[in-house]
Subunit: 194 residues, 2 copies
């Protein structure tokens, strides 16, 4: 995949690097230092888009030329927002709540063009249904330490994460952390318009 | 993931190796030499399950002890079965047909226990919706040679494959070529019963 300018990814998520690598995009990494704090007066989608924009804006301040990309993924179960678990105990509680239920995974993303400062934001929403999972499986998964840095305390590309998920409805790569198809189409259109 | 016996995978698909590796399963590979020929008097699901059993049976003849696993993935568009494309031209036609439409991905799988010869078969079905794709994108994808060894002429884990898919409904890993969750649950139950 070739775009008109280099992409600067304002993210420290290895899943996002892997996904951009997968579609062969030329990019470099400059993680933002934005804290992921939710605003309860906003909807989950608004929170995800707002945080993605804040991350992109912060990094865009240091960039002369390129497309700066921010993204934020959140998990929503019955209206409750789940970010990254703060502890193993949090991770356990989150996974227990997700068992045998359907939740939403929302990724907001923002692309800022430098030097013009033009920008575009969008989001992707995927429904994910967990099978009933046992406490023992959750404990075993937590010992791998993998849940700690992931919204909702799981990675669908992990060993256990993969077999917790019964089915999804929507974009798969959004659940990994970055909605490849929507991002590709959005950037293709954006670079024609700027 | 630990099972009671070693798994012998009767498949030459690198996607299947990667998926079994992903869930940390102890396995070895012994590809079968079964030709993938569809029987038009059977339904797509029956074809996929039948071929998975034929593959497992052939390899099971050489195995003294273990779980022999066969699998077969097919793509079905409006009742038309799509296996692996025979040529670049076939691949082009298949991808053009899939553009802007929803198709089914069906994986049949069979597990045979050796030495008891007890067996179990099941399948997974996932709906996949392609966005509208351009001839140019198809051509570019075909030059990577990736479509040639894949049912329906695409891999959802490929560079272009990933961005052709708008959304899926069902098990993601089934689309890659092996339904991890259903396989895991089926084998867990099977090894208790044998």
């Amino acid at each position: 995949m070739k775009f008109k300018k280099k992409i600067i990814l304002a993210s420290s998520s290895p899943r996002r690097y892997n996904l951009l690598n997968q579609i062969g995009v030329d990019f470099e990494i400059q993680p933002s230092e934005i804290e992921e704090i939710f605003d309860p007066s906003k909807s989950p989608i608004e929170n995800a888009v707002f945080l993605s924009e804040a991350k992109a804006q912060q990094v865009a301040g240091n960039i002369d030329n390129g497309f700066v990309v921010g993204a934020d993924t959140i998990v929503v179960l019955n209206g409750e927002l789940m970010g990254k678990p703060g502890s193993e105990r949090d991770a356990f509680q989150m996974l227990r709540k997700l068992s045998n239920k359907e939740h939403k995974v929302i990724t907001g993303f923002t692309i800022i063009d430098k030097p013009s400062n033009k920008k575009v934001s969008d989001y992707e929403l995927t429904l994910v249904k967990f099978r009933e999972i046992e406490d023992e499986e959750i404990m075993e998964y937590i010992t791998t330490q993998s849940p700690i840095d992931k919204a909702g305390a799981y990675g669908i590309q992990d060993d256990f994460g993969a077999i917790f998920v019964e089915k999804i409805n929507g974009c798969f790569y959004n659940v990994v952390g970055f909605p490849l198809t929507k991002f590709y189409l959005t950037l293709k259109k954006f670079q024609k318009e700027i």
